[in-house]
């Protein structure tokens, strides 16, 4: 009887959540299961490409004076190896795993913004492919993966390579930001009923921290790329010393991103370890609260360390002392995590399954990488080994030991859940015993070569310097390691297609993702689970059956649409019903036009780029239009007697939450711009400029009046629900236009941005203001169209516009103030 209920529920939900049939289904699907699988496959493909590049490097360095590659080819190969591994493999791979697993862990049916996830996937595929295709055409960047100008400026890298890097990588960062917004909102709002913050699975905490880090660390890098690309294309001299620029500005912006990036890569792996290790020890994680606190403090500390990549650039001594101390300090939260895991093993009974083997590989490797990291934080030592192979070996210990090994553990651990099959062929153990010893032989040799003075990024070396044996050993072992990695991939593929059909929850794990049938269906859960503790599967072994029978929330499929539960952020009490969009071709189309607008400048087709940009606006408008129905429906039955409002009819709909976190990234981007302005002002030679911008009074009045109107207009709109919307719309529109006019006055008064970095920065500050005013205008236009079409205006929509208008007004006043004040006081 109850089995039949479960089956009927399964059939109804499977129909509602089904992708379109055939190959078109892959282009229009936005379900996290499909998107996650594609993401994972593509990221693995890039890992293989990066690995082949690594083998080319080791082949070249195996013998002194090798004629295998010349410096032109070698410089492209090592630049692309770093770029592919960092940007095209490491970040997308953990994003893919999070997309696949997070909804299950949280007890929800999908991520908060499914179409945004699909969009992020396609932008990543297009941007990444463009970078690889450019490499195959011999147009790869060759200035090293951190792209220091002036070497990468137009004067010293005239080819397309640097542009490929800047535009391709920036589009991938856009994809990462889209995913991060989606993950943050999902973790904060889309959970099982009763899952308060302190009951969240530990991985959700880690990935929440990581996503906030992405939103705050990527914007400086995006700004840096924007500055460098503008300098290359339009000759605005941000990094040219003779015209008021400074190449050190790039290093600050790059490492403001680059150091947190290391922890953005490590923390998801740590989250996986904290998830898997307790299950492998048949116990629970020791010190959940300690581990959460350690993850948060590691994230905060990681933003205070970027200067340790710049110890040799002539930083003042006090600065060196501060950043040296801060750099050693990150070892503290890291050791809290390490000892939490060892303590967990201590209190449990370990079983030596394949995931556990890889975790042991992690311990042995990562601890060594951490210790060489502490050595590098000591300034006098750093001055000797900086830019030698010692640093190369250190970062491979941290990244392969701290990221790749735990990720392999994660894939083997979750394979039964993702494929419904359990391991049968034992190739994985062979692969492990090839990879880990070969890894240590390779990079121990590289450490020593670095201590003996071998510089990184040199394409060959002479005989008689004592490096021959070390390099040959490293190269041979690295090929063994590569064979091992190939076996890892083969093992997973074989067991995916030919493993044993397994039962549910083979490891006896206590968290919700294992409550779904295996392989996890597109809809995830038959009904939204109700949880009463941190380990719901341990508390209630019958939970899977009760979820499947529809005893949780939202088991009624009568409304015939994709629904999931939104809960109160703190307590996890059911609060709203989210209606998720179905299959759609819009994400794919939007990704096509976005990528075109990014990549068209590579071939000089600026007109195409502009055309594609207008395509972005149009598709985005259709996207939002389809999301919100014309009429409101009031509270709906969420099951178990709960009557809950639909999310789009609340004051803070999901779009408001998404906007809030997108604006966090936008705000950091703006902050980086102001930092750059102040940096050039105080540090760059050839400042101050020969003359300052002196503003007249009317632009100042326009800016002030515009800001007030921008703040007031949308608020009028939000209050006037059900009454005429025209006054609010009109006030806000006038405000946006006035602010844009004030910004234009800056550009008109200083018409030569290519003359001095001061003028170029003024143009960016004014451009930022005008751009955000234009965004608000587009949103206001959208609301007007909705009114004209006779749709009901919702308070949530007005509040979203209000958020963006406030941001435009606040940053506009700061930007224009920064442009005007020096002239007013000069």
């Amino acid at each position: 009887m109850t089995q039949r209920t479960a089956l009927r529920l399964h059939k109804a939900l499977a129909r509602i959540w089904a992708p379109e049939p055939g190959w078109r289904g892959w282009l229009t699907t936005n379900n996290n299961n499909d998107i996650g699988r594609l993401f994972l496959a593509v990221a693995t493909g890039f890992f293989v490409i990066g690995g082949i590049l690594a083998m080319l490097i080791r082949a070249q360095l195996a013998t002194p004076g090798s004629a295998f590659m010349g410096p032109e080819a070698y410089n492209q190969v090592f630049t692309m190896h770093g770029t592919v591994m960092m940007f095209l493999f490491a970040i997308p791979f953990f994003e893919a795993l999070s997309m696949l697993l997070l909804p299950g862990m949280l007890g929800t049916r999908d991520l908060a913004f499914p179409r945004l996830g699909a969009y992020g996937l396609w932008v990543y595929i297009f941007g990444g492919s463009a970078v690889i295709i450019a490499m195959l055409m011999g147009l790869a960047p060759d200035g090293g993966w951190f792209m220091y100008p002036p070497l990468t400026s137009a004067a010293f890298s005239p080819g397309l390579g640097a542009d490929v890097w800047l535009l391709g990588i920036t589009s991938i960062e856009v994809s990462a930001i889209a995913t991060a917004v989606e993950v943050v909102v999902t973790v904060l709002r889309y959970r099982a009923a009763g899952m308060s913050l302190s009951r969240m699975p530990i991985f959700a905490w880690y990935i929440l921290v990581v996503s906030v880090m992405i939103l705050t660390a990527f914007p400086p890098m995006i700004l840096g790329s924007l500055l460098l690309e503008t300098e290359r294309a339009l000759d605005w001299p941000f990094f040219q010393v003779e015209n008021g620029g400074d190449p050190l500005l790039w290093q600050h912006l790059f490492w403001l991103f680059g150091h947190p990036e290391v922890y953005i890569i490590f923390l998801p792996a740590a989250g996986m370890i904290a998830t898997i290790l307790p299950v492998m020890s048949r116990t629970t994680l020791l010190g959940y609260g300690w581990v959460v606190a350690a993850a948060v403090s590691l994230a905060v500390l990681s933003f205070g360390l970027w200067v340790h990549h710049m110890f040799t650039t002539g930083i003042p001594h006090l600065g060196l002392a501060f950043f040296s101390a801060a750099s050693t300090l990150v070892a503290v939260p890291t050791s809290v995590m390490i000892f939490s895991w060892i303590g967990t093993l201590w209190k449990g009974r370990v079983r030596m399954e394949l995931p556990m083997l890889w975790l042991l590989g992690f311990f042995a490797t990562f601890v060594i990488g951490g210790l060489t990291g502490v050595m590098l934080a000591v300034v006098p030592f750093n001055w000797q080994v900086h830019d030698t192979h010692f640093v190369v070996a250190h970062l491979h210990y941290v990244l392969i030991g701290g990221y790749v090994f735990p990720m392999i553990a994660a894939v083997t651990y979750f394979q039964p859940l993702l494929t419904g099959r359990f391991r049968y062929f034992r190739l994985g153990e062979v692969a492990f015993w090839l990879v880990v010893p070969a890894f240590h032989v390779t990079f121990l040799a590289v450490h020593v070569a670095g201590l003996l003075g071998q510089r990184r990024r040199t394409w060959t070396y002479d005989e008689g310097q004592g490096w021959e044996i070390l390099n040959l050993v490293a190269s041979i072992a690295s090929f063994v390691m590569a064979i091992g990695f190939a076996l890892v991939i083969l093992d997973i593929l074989i067991n995916t297609f030919a493993g044993l059909r397994g039962q549910r929850n083979p490891w006896g794990a206590p968290t919700l993702e294992w409550a779904a049938p295996t392989p996890s269906p597109t809809y995830g859960f038959g009904s939204i689970p109700i949880v009463r503790g941190r380990y719901p599967m341990a508390l209630d072994p019958d939970l899977p059956q009760r979820i499947a029978k529809g005893e949780g929330y939202l088991a009624d499929t009568a409304r015939n649409r994709r629904e999931t539960l939104i809960v109160d952020t703190m307590t996890g009490e059911p609060a709203e019903v989210a209606v998720l969009p179905g299959n759609s071709r819009l994400p794919f189309l939007l990704a096509v036009v976005t990528s075109t607008s990014f990549l068209a400048p590579l071939v000089g087709a600026y007109w195409l780029s502009a055309l594609a940009l207008s395509g972005v606006v149009i598709i985005a408008l259709i996207w939002v239009w389809q999301l919100v129905p014309a009429t409101t429906e009031g509270p709906v039955d969420a099951g178990r007697g709960a009557l809950l409002p639909v999310a789009s009819e609340t004051a803070n709909p999901p779009g408001w939450w998404g906007s809030l976190f997108l604006l966090l990234a936008d705000g950091v981007h703006f902050g980086s711009l102001v930092f750059g302005y102040a940096f050039l002002w105080t540090v760059a030679p050839n400042w101050p400029p020969s003359s300052y911008l002196r503003s007249e009074v009317w632009p100042v009045m326009l800016a002030l009046g515009g800001a007030v109107a921008l703040i007031a207009g949308p608020r009028l709109l939000a209050r006037a629900i059900g009454r005429p919307a025209l006054p609010g719309l009109l006030v806000a529109t006038c405000g946006a236009l006035a602010l844009a006019a004030a910004a234009a006055s800056v550009m008109l008064a200083r018409p030569a941005p290519e003359g001095h970095a001061y003028d170029a920065t003024l143009w960016l500050l004014a451009g930022h203001t005008a751009f955000h005013a234009a965004l608000v205008l587009i949103m206001l236009g959208y609301l007007s169209l909705r009114r004209i079409a006779g749709h009901a205006l919702r308070v949530g929509e007005a509040r979203i516009v209000s958020l963006w208008a406030d941001f435009a007004a606040a940053t506009g006043l700061v930007a224009l103030g920064a442009a005007w004040l020096p002239g007013a006081f000069a």
């Binding site: 300690w290 650039t313 070892a331």
Partner: protein
Amino acid sequence: MLAGSAAILLLVLGLLSAALLRRPAIPEAETGGRVWFWGFGLGFPLVTLAALTLYGLVIGERLLPRDAPDLATVEAEARQWAWTFTYPDAPGLATDGVLHIPAGRPVDVRITSRDVIHSFWVPRLAGKLDAIPGHVNILRIEAPAAGTFAGQSAEFSGEGYLGHVFTVQAHDPAAWARFLAGGTP
């Protein structure tokens, strides 16, 4: 540092092995948190790191350029892919690829670049310091006795990076005086 790191590594791996070998019949509840977190997690790294950082700062302090009565100053300008050295004590004197310094005296090298970023590194005399266009970085070196020392750029600078090397020639007082006077040292 190496010995300390090895000791820490052995400690961690030892604890790990002990944890693996230990097989309690029933997995224990949350106990021992105080030792694991206050002791190993916080106390242990804080103490070792404080000592190490202090040690690094003291060493760093000794490497700082200080006023010295017999200080000599030379200038190094890098470009793709060569070095030119000039000598404020002998205006007009310039050498390519060979830096001449007096032995047994502290020498300040004023480092800059004409094009992209390079780095001045003579491993046996000092750590490296970057040559950045528009900036002058000062590195203090001292050669213990007359002789030749190999130097190289240590910041990737494009196709000619491998060959971007120079030598440092340290002279006894008489030879240094002859060099500054324009003669062969």
